[in-house]
C-alpha cells in the first residue's frame, strides 16, 4: 500500500508539472510583443485551429453511440449558428444526445 501510494502521488505531481510548464513558459518568457507579422497572424489564428481540431472527429465518439453524437453535433451547430450562449448550446446538446440514447437503448 505504502509504496503503491508513493508511486501514484509521484505520478500525480509529475502530471501537474508537465501540465503547468507548457502553460507558464511562454507567458513568463515573452513579455514583449512579437514583431514578426507572420507570427502575429499565426498566433491570432491559434484559437480557431485548436477548436476545429479538438471538435472533429473526436465529438463522434464522445457519447454511447455514433448516432446520438451526430444528433448532438447537429443541434449544437444549428444553435451556435444562431449565436445562442455556451451553456444553452451545451445543455440542449446533452438533452438531444440523452433522448437519442434512450431511443437507441429501447431499440436494441
Amino acid at each position: 500500500m505504502g509504496i503503491y501510494m508513493d508511486k501514484v502521488l509521484a505520478a500525480v505531481l509529475l502530471m501537474a508539472l508537465v501540465t503547468y510548464l507548457p502553460r507558464v513558459l511562454p507567458l513568463a518568457i515573452f513579455k514583449n510583443k512579437i514583431r514578426s507579422r507572420f507570427l502575429t497572424a499565426f498566433l491570432s489564428y491559434v484559437p480557431y485551429a485548436v477548436l476545429g481540431a479538438m471538435i472533429f472527429p473526436d465529438i463522434l465518439t464522445s457519447t454511447g453511440h455514433l448516432a446520438s453524437a451526430a444528433a448532438g453535433l447537429v443541434i449544437a451547430s444549428v444553435m451556435a449558428y444562431f449565436e445562442r450562449g455556451l451553456l444553452q448550446v451545451a445543455v440542449c446538446a446533452i438533452i438531444a444526445v440523452y433522448v437519442c440514447e434512450l431511443i437507441l437503448v429501447r431499440m436494441v
Partner: protein, 248 residues
C-alpha cells in the same frame, strides 16, 4: 488627484474581474459534468477519492489528466505517464504564447505565474475572443469559477461514483464539444480567416485520425500538427492587414 486615480484603478480591477467571472459561468457549468465523469472513472479504477480530487486541483485539464490517470490505473511507469501527459499538453504552449501577445502592458512575473495555472482550452479561447487586451484581473475572474467547477465536479463524481444511470453519463460526454462549437461557429460566421483556419484544422485532424497510416500519432500531437498547419496557411492567406489582428 492621485487618490482619484487609485480609486479609478481599483474600480477597473473589479470591473475586469467581474466581467471575466460573468464570461466564465458557462465554462464552469460545462466543466462540471466532464470532471464529474473523471471523478467516477478514476475512483472506479481504484484510485483513492482524495488523490482523484488532488489530480483535478493540480492538473485542471481534461485530455491530459484523463490519459495520465488511465496510465496510473494500468500500472504504467512514471516516464511513460509524464511523457504522454506532456505531449497532450504541448498545445498549451501555443495558447500561452498567443495569450502573452494579448496581455496589457506591465503584467508582473508573479501574476503571469498565477494566471498560467488555469490556461485551458476554454478559458484561453474565451479570453482570445475578447476585443480588448487582457488584464490580470480579467483572467483571474475568468479562471476562478472554472477551477472551482472542475474541482467540485471531480469531488462529487468521485463520491457519488455510480448512482447516475449509464445513459446519462454517456450523454454528458457531448458537453465540452458543444461548448467548443458554440465558440467557433459564431467566430467563423464573422471572419473568413477564422472559417478557413478552423475548416483546415478539422480536415487535417480528421485525416490524421481516420487514415490508418497516421495511427501512430497520438491525440495531443494531432491537435498540434493540425493547429500548426492550419495557422501557417491562415497567416499566409490572410496576413494581418486584412485580418482583425492589428491591435497595436
Amino acid at each position: 488627484m492621485t487618490t482619484v486615480n487609485v480609486q479609478d484603478k481599483k474600480r477597473n480591477i473589479l470591473k475586469d474581474f467581474l466581467e471575466g467571472s460573468r464570461l466564465s459561468i458557462p465554462i464552469a457549468l460545462g466543466y462540471f459534468p466532464v470532471s464529474f465523469t473523471f471523478g467516477l472513472m478514476a475512483v472506479r479504477g481504484g484510485i483513492p477519492v482524495w488523490i482523484v480530487i488532488l489530480i483535478s486541483m493540480t492538473n485542471i485539464t481534461s485530455a491530459g489528466q484523463f490519459a495520465g490517470t488511465n496510465l496510473i490505473i494500468a500500472g504504467a511507469g512514471l516516464t511513460e505517464i509524464a511523457v504522454t501527459t506532456f505531449v497532450i499538453n504541448i498545445r498549451y504552449m501555443l495558447m500561452s504564447l498567443s495569450l502573452s501577445q494579448r496581455l496589457v502592458a506591465g503584467v508582473s512575473s508573479i501574476k503571469r505565474l498565477i494566471m498560467a495555472f488555469v490556461v485551458t482550452d476554454e478559458t484561453f479561447t474565451v479570453a482570445a475572443m475578447q476585443k480588448r487586451d487582457i488584464s490580470f484581473s480579467f483572467m483571474a475572474g475568468l479562471e476562478l469559477l472554472p477551477y472551482i467547477g472542475w474541482s467540485a465536479g471531480t469531488a462529487v463524481g468521485a463520491m457519488v461514483c455510480t448512482l447516475l444511470p449509464q445513459t446519462l453519463q454517456d450523454s454528458m460526454g457531448i458537453a465540452l464539444y458543444a461548448m467548443f462549437i458554440a465558440l467557433v461557429i459564431p467566430a467563423a460566421k464573422k471572419s473568413r480567416a477564422a472559417l478557413v483556419v478552423a475548416g483546415c484544422a478539422i480536415i487535417i485532424s480528421t485525416v490524421i485520425k481516420w487514415i490508418p497510416v497516421f495511427s501512430f500519432i497520438s491525440g495531443g500531437w494531432r491537435i498540434i500538427i493540425a493547429t500548426a498547419i492550419a495557422c501557417t496557411l491562415g497567416a499566409k492567406m490572410f496576413p494581418p492587414q486584412d485580418a482583425e489582428t492589428d491591435r497595436e
